[in-house]
Symmetry: C2
Subunit: 438 residues, 2 copies
């Protein structure tokens, strides 16, 4: 067996790349022992050379701006640029030149995974991406390998650290959304433009990847129902608290009955109220955690740091060792598995529960009118609470109705809320939020 | 590529085996899609044929008492007999005949792992054992594959469901040890002879396996320091509660400084007080959870059912799909990795904290004498609490001293306790327990 080093090329050298390079250098001996052959960094593609990159421990002459050339002379290519292009073209080129690829690129996988998988198959190379979902938490490997003998029913996860930090701040300090985002930005948990996180795009990409793996079905990010947390108010968080709940941005992937017959897959990302007794409710700060329910295994939970240079680098390097071992010993990791081809169900047919808070007129018969609207849409009410707040000065007292429903289709719930807004006795639909985890 | 079925033989058909057979039968289509070829049960070796085994879904004529013959005609052998012999001989024979092996046998792996690994290497077959540690929780694969690019510092786990159920009952109901064990037996969480669980043998075997994987060092079960929970009293549990702690049976595997220079590995299983704020403190009933601290990944936690027929079968079948894929596509899973050969440190050199409760004479100067004994052994005291209980009738009042130490070597702590027992002013050393997780 050859003992020549395996040639490792890296694309990108930001927060994650710097840690990957450092660990590849510092732990060279251990990584060689685990892989079966030494791993040698043959180049790191960056946008500009000449910067101080001493933290990588990599010789300056190994940095290059010619990524296209670099990927033609590697056994393993690590892609940590992120985004769609040039990452996509470079990964496809690397595979065409015979390299296995390790990537942390959730956006690309969620948008164009099948193309990448097909290229990996065509060129008989590996495509690994543990770091793309939930940072350092081993999740991709457990879902696609450890649970390969089981049937996954549901994945319920906190997969975005920024939004979890923001919601946790709102819950613990009573801060509003804008204030909590500013704090997150000051601490480096949120980017200057936090859109990808707070609007749920990042979580939706991860949900698409997880659902594809869990249900052996192609789920593009565009099929994921997505609502961010920008509309979550301090009042919503307080209302959740009153119910013994906490507001979390959840990624939910479910195998469920298809109204058209057979089974389907529903994938969604939205804020939801979760009982404080649920294991995910205790996930604080920027941590991630994913709950997996499988038919035989039962309920499993995976918890850990969901982002950050070092944790993400740990996930990348675990994959590097796996693909290196395949280079040394032969064999390949699992490719795309989409044999199940379950139908992708629209949000409207998904069964959820709602927490609806209404500002109403303070006069008899209001509850009856409101209840009738729910009944018209066949949505069963679990609890109703009426609250009367004295008006200020000469203003009349304000009355509120807080309704929590049993499970119904999202469609029926949405139509109910629309009709509630049209009632004369309803002055405003103050808030609507789904309730999960019961 | 051949599409002939892979021949699967199973040794044993108890609680786990029945579920493995059932799932292999019921999910045949899915398992074939995931493996690349159908999996066909060619035989199940049992001690006695003729029993009703309809729950397996396997034709009666496939049951045999001739295990030796069965292992010669399989591609994959699933061993769920447990115990050392005949499991060991059958596994070695299966490998010699070219079969890959999936086993849930923690006792055998912990006692004789290197022999099994060597046989797997010699015959170029796979040896997988996810089900041997923490039931359905994916742990072996994450530790030996996902974290292969990282350096694990510490594994801290609740890996025995029986003892966790017993300790949880003692904590929540105030029951004594014997009573809690009876409840566990009544509910099927403890065996009629609970020795292997309550004396920590089961947890020690799992700790040996985990430490071997985490530190790339051979750790036999005999090198694991082991204390069971039979001496844990209702008073200990109450004392823990007063400190804001809960008593758990912990398996602890640490990479630590070797007093002789370099790094060593310390592996131990014992009851310990754990702060209620620690994520492991919330693990209730018969559940398992394992905390892994790695240099780059940070703190990870894995949680789920640690035993039971279906969860264990899920872990077995995940392994079956992995080894089947290797049969179809080539390649092998990771073999033994013991390149690090770290020294195994004795319990005496392990640094821990102690909670010591002393019954003492109620007179001035007692604390000074007690403190001097700690100082003599260079054990630093973190807190001392003096308690005075009025004596009954004419009896003099009883005084107690509760001391919690800072970290010191277990040797120094044990010697301190020995000397405390010799003091005239100490009437009894009421309890001694280690404190972890801070």
């Amino acid at each position: 067996m050859s003992t020549a080093p395996l040639r490792v090329a890296m694309l990108g050298c930001g927060v994650v790349g710097t840690q990957v390079a450092r660990l590849l250098t510092e732990h060279a001996g251990e990584l060689a022992a685990r892989s079966g052959r030494p791993l040698e960094i043959v180049g790191i593609a960056v946008r500009r050379t000449g910067r101080d990159r001493a933290a990588t421990g990599v010789a300056p002459e190994l940095f290059t701006t010619d990524a296209e050339e670099l990927v033609t002379r590697a056994d393993i290519v690590i892609e940590v640029i992120g985004g769609i292009e040039p990452a996509r073209t470079l990964i496809l080129s690397a595979m065409a030149h015979g390299a296995s690829v390790v990537t942390a690129n959730k956006a690309l996988l969620a948008q164009d995974g099948p193309t990448l998988y097909a290229a990996a198959d065509e060129h008989a190379v590996d495509l690994y991406f543990e770091a793309a979902v939930a940072g350092a938490i081993p999740l991709v490997r457990p879902v696609r390998e450890s649970l390969a003998g089981d049937r996954i029913k549901r994945v319920l996860g906190i997969v975005n650290g920024t939004t979890n930090y923001v919601l946790d701040q709102m819950d613990t300090t009573g801060a509003g959304f804008a204030e909590a985002v500013e704090q997150a930005q000051a601490l480096g948990y949120a980017e200057a433009d936090p859109t990808a996180d707070v609007e749920g795009f990042d979580a939706a990409a991860k949900a698409a990847i997880l659902a594809s793996l869990a249900f052996h079905t192609r789920v593009p990010a565009s099929a994921v129902y997505r609502e961010g947390i920008t509309d979550v108010s301090a009042a919503d968080v307080a209302a959740a608290r009153e119910m013994g709940c906490v507001v979390k941005l959840l990624a939910i992937c479910e195998r469920t009955a298809d109204p058209a017959g057979g089974e389907g897959v529903a994938v969604r990302v939205h804020p939801a109220m979760l009982p404080r007794t649920h294991p995910l409710a205790g996930v604080r700060g920027a941590f991630n955690a994913v709950f997996v329910e499988a038919e035989a295994a039962g309920e499993l939970m995976f918890y850990g740091p969901g982002a950050g240079g070092e944790p993400t680098a740990s996930a990348v390097l675990g994959d590097v060792v796996s693909v290196a071992r395949h280079r040394v010993q032969g064999g390949r990791g699992p490719g795309e598995s989409s044999y199940a081809e379950l139908s992708l169900l629209p949000m409207g047919s998904t069964r959820t529960r709602y927490h609806v808070s209404l500002d109403v007129a303070d006069r008899p018969g209001v509850l009856a009118q409101v209840a009738l609207v729910f009944a018209d849409h066949e949505v069963s009410i679990e609890t109703v609470r009426q609250q009367l707040t004295p008006g200020e000065g000469d203003a009349p007292p304000r009355a509120a109705l807080v309704v929590v429903t049993h499970q119904a289709t999202d469609e029926a719930l949405a139509a109910t809320v629309d009709d509630l807004a049209k009632l004369d006795v309803v002055q405003a639909v103050a808030s609507v939020m789904r309730v999960e985890g019961e």
